[in-house]
């Protein structure tokens, strides 16, 4: 087991090294084979590990002492348990499919850049695995920052484009803001408990040492880290910009894996969060606000990837909403299903973009269903899944969230239902505008339209099947007794709150209500967008289209004020403040000596005069102040 984990972790790193160092030598085929092969190895070993976990439960393995100072130590230790094994499978499984897809999607890149792309991708998988496998906060943080780095490198993959570089930098810096919160939380834990290991921190005697203030502060700070990585208000604006990267990257990093790291973090610390009601309330508010805000923005976007990006932000909002409610299993469930259908949607959009020759504006698409059959059908399945139509996977995970919201308060339920309806609406708007009606692009593009090769469609099909069936792991008890396998599986790690049990009839009613409303919304979308014509948006639509002007607000207030402050420091304080004082001292000495030099006139008479005067002065002083 210990060695297996190491293999899972090291295989992508080896792939990174080979592709990174020899990218100029190796052919594209070998590069792709190497990259995909390493992930496949990881995936296969993950399956083995997963089956062991099913039988025997989790374990912690120490490899070496990373840092040891006095009594404080951070071992390089990996932890495998129910939660991390699920993430392990998602990362390596979805990661593998996306690697295969990329091999075809990126084939027009030159060999060196192709190698660079795959080495970054492998490095990302390595760090992501480190993140979920780390047995203490520091190892987790290493993965946490590492995935941020890979995200930076991959968003700025086409580095000649200055705008992409800005997007990459924005992502990195915003993540860093969150990371600072994470770091301070770690320091806080070190100060109080002198350790960073999960197993010690989550034990009862450690928790007893923490005051309520400590727990609230630590959980809030960790949540700040999660808002950065998982693109929640107020740190979400980097994710839509991150779409500058290649589409498979968006699918892997900015939909399926990295952005769910925040959810993983909170779920991992669920013991702490359950003890911090204030933090939970804040998470509920932020999750809900993000879910709805991002959904409203997604309503009016026209870039296919931007819509999906805002959709991701919104879905992450749902997950955090669930986390805040204490429904950790529901959140993890949604992470799983979301990984499948969002990866599917992104890869599908990649296939569309590929067919359109790089065009991303859905106003210039339309009627693609005839030419891109497989893409269309898989995309359709993805939309059904994200909208939450039974029996697609999204239905079950979303239902779990909705039910737990209702159990808390009906008001929350209706708000989150609004978010779910918006989701259905913008996704089907996207689907209908893109695939129905008539083609609105140029002649050239129409000629170029073609279905993607099998290497790209195969992952789509697999993901579509997964989106369809993944719900079986969490069928609620009302529908099938003992169907909620996921809760059962996660129960050793995740604390389940059984206080608010709803009656079966209420649950049926809620499911029926949401399904009917969502189908209704889809019908409305069909009517509105089956024959789409470009129209000018007005009123509140304009407001949504411009993303609530949040970017502008941030630029005006924070970025500008920091820049101004920096300018003041540079131009005024440094040049005419401190440096002027320093130079002023020098100048004063210089000036003083120049004035004193005048006394040396060279006239002997003057000297004698001064001498005599001084003597007279001295004598008279002595005479007057005689003791």
């Amino acid at each position: 087991m210990k060695e297996f984990l190491l293999v899972i972790l090291v295989a992508p790193f080896v792939g990174f090294l080979i592709n990174g160092l020899f990218r100029n030598v190796l052919s594209k085929k070998i590069i792709a084979f190497n990259a995909c092969g390493q992930i496949l190895i990881s995936f296969l070993f993950s399956l083995v590990v997963f089956s062991t976990i099913l039988e025997s439960g989790g374990a912690i393995f120490e490899y070496y002492n990373f840092i040891k100072v006095g009594s404080f130590q951070i071992p390089f230790a990996l932890q495998i348990d129910q939660l991390s094994s699920i993430f392990l499978l998602i990362i390596t499984g979805v990661g593998f499919l996306i690697h295969v897809y990329s091999a075809s999607y990126m084939k027009e890149e030159s060999s060196a850049h192709f190698g660079r792309y795959f080495s970054y991708l492998n490095l990302f998988i390595f760090f992501m695995l480190l993140l979920v496998l780390g047995a203490n906060f520091v190892i987790m943080f290493i993965g946490w920052e590492g995935v941020g780095l890979c995200s930076y490198l991959l968003i700025g993959y086409w580095f000649k484009n200055t705008e992409y570089n800005y997007a990459a930098r924005k992502a990195f810096v915003m993540n860093r803001i969150g990371d600072l919160g994470f770091l301070i939380a770690i320091f806080w834990l070190i100060a109080k408990l002198d350790t960073t290991s999960f197993s010690i921190i989550f034990s009862n005697e450690s928790l007893a040492k923490l005051s309520t203030l400590d727990i609230t502060a630590i959980t809030l700070l960790l949540f700040v880290g999660a808002t950065g990585k998982s693109a929640q208000i107020p740190l979400y604006t980097w994710l839509p910009d991150a779409m500058a990267g290649p589409t498979p990257v968006s699918a892997l990093i900015h939909a399926a894996t990295m952005v769910t790291a925040g959810v993983y973090l909170v779920a991992r610390c669920n013991v702490l969060y359950s003890l911090a009601p204030i933090t939970q309330t804040i998470i509920v508010c932020i999750g809900l606000a993000t879910a709805i805000l991002a959904a409203t923005i997604a309503l009016k976007q026209n870039d296919i990837k931007k819509i999906l990006a805002y959709s991701t932000v919104s879905q992450l909002g749902f997950m955090f909403f669930a986390l805040g409610l204490g429904a950790y299993t529901a959140a993890v469930f949604h992470v799983i299903t979301h990984a499948f259908f969002k990866a599917l949607l992104f890869l599908g959009s990649g296939s569309v973009i590929h067919a359109m020759g790089g065009e991303q504006d859905i106003r210039k698409m339309g009627g693609l269903s005839k030419k891109l059959k497989i893409t269309y059908w898989t995309f359709f399945i993805g939309c059904l899944a994200i909208a939450g139509i039974p029996p697609f996977s999204g239905f079950f995970s979303k239902d779990a969230i909705l039910v737990s919201a209702f159990a808390k308060s009906p008001a929350l339920y209706f708000m989150v239902l609004l978010g779910a309806l918006l989701t259905a609406f913008y996704m089907f708007r996207l689907l209908f505008i893109t695939f129905s009606g008539s083609f609105r692009g140029t002649k050239e593009q129409q000629q170029h339209l073609h279905e993607s090769p099998a290497v790209m469609t195969l992952p789509l099909i697999i993901l579509a099947i997964l989106s369809l069936v993944a719900g079986v792991i969490g069928i609620p008890d009302v529908l099938l007794n003992g169907g909620d396998k996921l809760s059962e599986f996660l129960s050793p790690i995740i604390f389940v709150n059984n206080e608010h049990q709803l009656s079966h009839s209420t649950e049926y009613l809620l499911m029926g209500l949401s399904t009917i409303l969502i189908i209704g919304v889809i019908v409305v979308a069909w009517v509105l967008f089956k024959k789409y014509k470009t129209t000018e948006t007005v009123g509140i639509g304009k407001f949504f289209e411009n993303k609530w002007y949040v970017d502008e607000l941030y630029n005006k207030t924070i970025v500008n004020s920091i820049n101004k402050l920096a300018k003041i420091c540079n131009d005024i304080i440094e040049k005419s403040g401190i440096d002027a004082v320093v130079n002023g001292v020098g100048r004063l000495v210089h000036y003083g000596s120049r004035q004193l030099r005048l006394l040396q006139s060279g006239q002997v008479g003057n000297y004698i005069l001064v001498m005599v005067l001084c003597m007279v002065l001295v004598f008279s002083f002595q005479f007057i102040f005689k003791k």
């Binding site: 040396q600 006139s601 060279g602 006239q603 002997v604 008479g605 004698i608 005069l609 005599v612």
Partner: protein, 109 residues
């Protein structure tokens, strides 16, 4: 005669010397003024030595004689100094055709 008379005379002589040095520009006169100051001091020395001798003759027969002795030293040194000084002045005159000390500020540059 009380000692004050000598002191006052010496101060007057000394002050004349100082004022002469400060005011006059002719090197020879400046020189003479310096001599004047020296001699004012000499006068004081002699006067005080005499005074000491009168006071302490009963205890020590040679009391106050060192003052007289120093005067001789000073006169010798002054004579030597005068010869050197005059030589400088002569050289000065040869070079500048003047004995004005205001010309003597070359070292400043």
């Amino acid at each position: 005669m009380p000692i004050y008379y000598y002191i006052v005379l010496a101060i007057v002589l000394f002050c004349i010397g100082i004022v002469g040095v400060l005011v006059r520009r002719n090197a020879i006169i400046v020189f003479m003024c310096i001599e004047l100051m020296l001699n004012a001091v000499n006068l004081l020395m002699v006067a005080f030595s005499k005074m000491h001798h009168l006071k302490n003759a009963a205890i020590n027969a040679s009391a106050g004689s060192d003052g007289q002795l120093f005067v001789f030293f000073i006169m010798v040194v002054a004579a030597a100094e005068v010869s050197v000084g005059l030589a400088i002045i002569v050289m000065l005159f040869r070079n500048t055709h003047s004995v004005d000390i205001n010309f003597l500020n070359r070292l400043k540059h």
